[in-house]
């Protein structure tokens, strides 16, 4: 087995920031694909033809990139403007020196941990002293909380006394282990919700930050958790439609993206070009892209069907970039269905990428003419936010938090069917001025509502309001 010719370190635009060794192909088909891989060295990239050769098995890397130091608030000035950052600093003055504790159930992986890694340094920078604790628990606890998580989002579940006992026992153990002396304690999601038992003096404020959709919860599980939630001073939800009726104030904090992260920062066009060359995407023709894990809720097969309808009238390629097929049996099944739906169509490019390919995803989104997120069920839909931030005209299913982001025909277009999706692909590809205006509006919408700086603003506001007693 020969090594890949050249090295990624030499030829990859990623090498400017960090580099990783490629995963060696393991299966016979992978080996065959590897042997047939074209030489994409820098010199051959420069001389690449307008129709790059397809790479059906893009190289992947087995380790994530080294972490990037967290940005400072001033780093965002070039993005949101000096005035907005100065306003954040003024807003922080009244809560300077106050203390906040964030508690969740995992330090790595998942959107909540990712958000906290970004948010906490920024709050500390404005001297709102913020600590982060992660609860501990055995497999039994996390099996129960995983079941609660699914049940609260509508799955069938029979709540047993044993599950209640396990939940309460581990919450009690964490209550004894963690100190709760801060001015504001924020508990993320249902797993640590019973920590409210640790509530201290009358001046302390407790907030429950719910990141999941509670619009249709399993009544038994919600009935069990609700008495804990009602003892908090406030709850926060990610969308109006995710809430329950509660006797405490409920605030709306949209999820956000970090414009300086690998997935969203500006990229050199040469990098975008190299990623497209690597993945066999022809930038001289329109590119329609959906980025999402291989999950039926994202309806990737529906996207293929819409693409095939649209392409009868307009030339384009479809890129479906995702992951989750390697560690999730359902993901693998969806990927198989997707490949069957795509058939031998050379204009449908399916990329099964590991979760740390943020730069490549960023490049694919930037290379796209249109971005699609044809979900039939969705949380908030941060891939939509990412596409809008890159100024891309975006077509998305009108589900979950997507209508918060896409105002139909103003910041993107909402669709409800394969046929609707196909029509909008055709329309936007043939009306570039309208598509461009949607993209511009979408970016401004994200800048105003869904960036990390807006999230910092919301947390500072909440601290001011809670600690001044105005929420009562």
């Amino acid at each position: 087995m020969s090594k890949l010719s050249g090295s990624w370190r030499e030829r990859s635009p990623r090498a400017r920031a960090h580099y990783m060794e490629p995963v060696e192909p393991q299966t016979e088909s992978e080996l065959a694909a590897k042997d047939s891989q074209p030489d994409n060295s820098a010199s051959s990239v420069a001389a690449s033809s307008p129709r790059p050769e397809r790479r059906r098995q893009p190289r992947t890397w087995e380790t994530p990139p080294a972490p990037v130091p967290p940005p400072l608030l001033d780093d965002y000035k070039n993005i949101v403007g000096t005035a907005d950052i100065d306003e954040l600093k003024f807003l922080a003055q009244e809560v300077k020196g106050r203390t906040v504790k964030m508690v969740n159930s995992t330090a790595v992986g998942g959107g909540v941990a990712e958000m906290l890694h970004q948010l906490i340094p920024l709050l500390n920078e404005v001297e709102v002293k913020t600590r982060w604790d992660v609860i501990t628990g055995g497999n039994d606890f996390f099996e129960v909380t995983k079941a609660f998580h699914n049940a609260l989002q509508g799955s069938d579940y029979k709540l047993t006394q044993q599950a209640r006992d396990i939940f309460l026992m581990h919450n009690e153990q964490n209550r004894k282990r963690i100190q709760f002396s801060e001015d504001v304690v924020v508990i993320h999601d249902p797993q640590p919700a019973a920590l409210i038992d640790a509530r201290g003096g009358a001046s302390q404020r407790w907030v429950w930050r719910c990141h999941i959709d509670l619009s249709n919860p399993n009544p038994e599980v919600w009935g069990f958790l609700r008495p804990f939630i009602e003892r908090y001073d406030a709850a926060i939800f990610s969308s109006q439609s995710f809430t329950r009726q509660l006797p405490i104030p409920q605030y709306l904090f949209y999820p956000c993206i970090d414009p300086l992260s690998e997935k969203n920062k500006d990229l050199e066009d040469s990098f975008v070009q190299q990623v497209c060359d690597e993945f066999g995407i022809d930038r001289s023709r329109p590119i329609v892209t959906q980025v999402s894990r291989f999950d039926r809720a994202k309806d990737p097969v529906g996207v293929v069907q819409a693409f095939k309808q649209a392409r009868k009238y307009v030339d384009c390629q479809l890129v479906l970039a995702g992951g989750g097929a390697s560690d999730d049996p359902e993901g693998a099944a969806v990927l198989k269905e997707l490949r069957e739906a795509a058939g031998e169509d050379q204009d449908i490019i399916i990329l099964d990428l590991p979760p740390w390919c943020a730069l490549e995803i960023n490049a694919l989104q930037r290379a796209s003419t249109l971005v699609v997120q044809k979900s039939i069920r969705e949380g908030f839909g941060l891939t939509v936010t990412e596409a809008l931030w890159k100024g891309k005209p975006t077509i998305a299913g009108a589900v979950g938090g997507i209508p918060n982001q896409i105002i139909h025909k103003l910041t993107g277009v909402l669709v409800h069917s394969v046929e609707g999706c196909a029509y909008q692909m055709r329309y936007l590809l043939t009306h570039p001025d309208f598509a461009r205006q949607l993209g511009q509006n979408g970016r401004e919408h994200v800048k105003e509502n869904f960036l990390m700086t807006t999230n910092v603003r919301r947390w500072l506001l909440l601290c001011r309001i809670l600690l001044s007693g105005r929420s009562k």
Partner: protein, 225 residues
Amino acid sequence: MSASTPILVRTPVKPFYFNTSAHLLRITPQKSNTLAEFLDALRDCPEGSIFQHSFRTLQEHHFIREGFSNDFAHWTLSACNEPGLAERLASVDVREFTSVAELRGRFIQIVENFLQRAPATGTRMARETFYFCASDTVVIPTSFVAHTLHEFTEGLRGVSVHCIHHHFIEARLRLKLMSNDFSQWLHEDLGLTEAARQLNRIDIYTMTLEDVREQIIRVVERALT
């Protein structure tokens, strides 16, 4: 005063302090799935909800030039498919109101009139629920203070669009006047009555807030020359 007559700009009686307001969105218990429920909620919701879905929505969507004047109009069009009602709701100009109570009354009147003429539409299910939200507002200072008209234009250029919204659009609820903070200062502290009047004629519904900022600066710069 003719256009060619030089304007003598006096020293302002007091400086102009540029402030801004930050808003936290609160989800209220009111929601509606039909126009009849919508009318009930319009009557019962807190004033903060009327403010949020009219004044504030202009700020949240400050980058859009057309088709988005308030959330009520948007919902009645996109979720209820009632373009006639949507047009009437969209035509409500927040600058004509100096209190949220009056503004609420106008919205209620429009929906009541519509449902009287088309009562069957009142119970038809909307495609999406309308959730009434409200704003908790905190006023914060900025680093900009104007002691002269020149400093005033520098401030206008340097502040955020939220600050422009705070002084130019929200201000009438504070002032209880059909005016805004900028016009008040130009008129009362500098005697620039014509410039103050011109600012009040800027159309906030057909421009982005950045466009509005540029228009304000142009009017003030004309007063400087």
